[in-house]
Symmetry: C2
Subunit: 265 residues, 2 copies
Amino acid sequence: MSKPSIAAGAEPRRAQERSPAGAAHRGEGEGLESKPLYRQVRETLIRRMVDGVWAPGEPLPSEIQLAAELGVSQGTVRKALDEMAAENIVVRRQGRGTFVARHDEERILFQFFKLVGDDGERHFPESRVLGIERAKGTAAECGALALPRNGRVLRIRRLRTFDGAPLIIESLILPDQMFPGLADAPVPNNLYGLYAQRYGITVARAREQLKAVGADSDTAAMLNVEPGAPVLLIDRLAYSLDGTPVEWRISFCLTAGFHYLSDLT
Amino acid sequence: MSKPSIAAGAEPRRAQERSPAGAAHRGEGEGLESKPLYRQVRETLIRRMVDGVWAPGEPLPSEIQLAAELGVSQGTVRKALDEMAAENIVVRRQGRGTFVARHDEERILFQFFKLVGDDGERHFPESRVLGIERAKGTAAECGALALPRNGRVLRIRRLRTFDGAPLIIESLILPDQMFPGLADAPVPNNLYGLYAQRYGITVARAREQLKAVGADSDTAAMLNVEPGAPVLLIDRLAYSLDGTPVEWRISFCLTAGFHYLSDLT
DNA sequence: CAGTGGTCTAGACCACGTA
DNA sequence: ACGTGGTCTAGACCACTGC
């Protein structure tokens, strides 16, 4: 017998009778490759989400069903799902079930949009697309998005306003082949929802780097401030469920009446 | 019998024989006041840390011992400790034990100091205190620190440099009575370590609000830039283990060669 | 070797949501 | 009434640490 594992290739292991003593099947050699069972379960479930087996918003099978299918105990499935809930890739609701997290406006607002009104209110700004182009990526762009040299990218530039006042001017760079046809249809305000619904790509986490810079003349004109006025530069790289970089976003934000909220926990 | 609970007043409940069926002691009425057992355990342990029963860096009793002392199962203690480990209140090390988290430089660097070099290196700047004063707090100060009107505060102003170059100029406001004698001794670079060691106050989390602003003439002079130069304003409120606001800190940071790193997970 | 946390299982009952 | 996740218990074995 080998270390505990879910049968290779994401195939579930049949339950078949197990030795009565809980973990009696464990402990043999198997020199390498042995993550905890609950992590293997987690990765199996994530792989299925990436493969589109369950779409965002849909319920997963119940813990009992998953446990039976994967040949592990309910407790192990539970630990995997609890961890996934902590990562916001799944939502658990007592009495109802476990659901693939959706990129609805509320989630964006709390997980990915950190600009908050000074009164504490969370607002979602309106967006107006200024331009879209497809081109060969620069070295920096291809590097950030893990594309081969000269890989094609999609660039989107848009102005985001709140109550009609300019708030953010931002540039997005995407891997062109990952989002075929995106440039041909209207671009919605909630882009991560579009990535998920139309392309099956789920943004799971992002890394943001912030600087205070002076607005250049272009930026200043778009934001309706004087050149050199202080603006908050946010450089975001967003990653999908499987860790692939999906979007590079550079935003220049006005922070009069708004601030970037960061919880250190 | 009432709902599951640890005997009132943080006193442990003796183990005494329990009905064999695991949860058979649960289920009676008890109209209100019923958090899950593992949260009660968590709060009992936190209260003890606040009371100084275990100092930072010291080991807690083993899960088995805590379970016996509190009259709950090892699994319940484990769930409480796992949650506390996720909150960085406690550090668990296999084979060694569970320890109260310390505010050593490494923890500060990763949990509370988000300014990172553009090369990705995390640096801890040097500090030079410019002034300390005790005074009646302004309305804003007392409000932020949850002090009564006109409560006394301690103000510290310091310049933080990296490799000799000015990086941050910051003002700290503390409740005076919470830190007696702090103004009479040299102020170390790692303040949270001092709060913990000398005053038994553990900073557990903080909330930061960021803006890009133009440096006023004072700030500009201290940071060696021209007035109006863009600087990153960080407004931090730090809370202790029991949720009390402990420190209000306003920092003006240069972000040339450095950036504020925020992980959206 | 003994003691600690880490993983895994099995089974009970509770609380919630839906029908 | 039923099925879901949430809590709690009990007990097994594993992996690591330090004596």
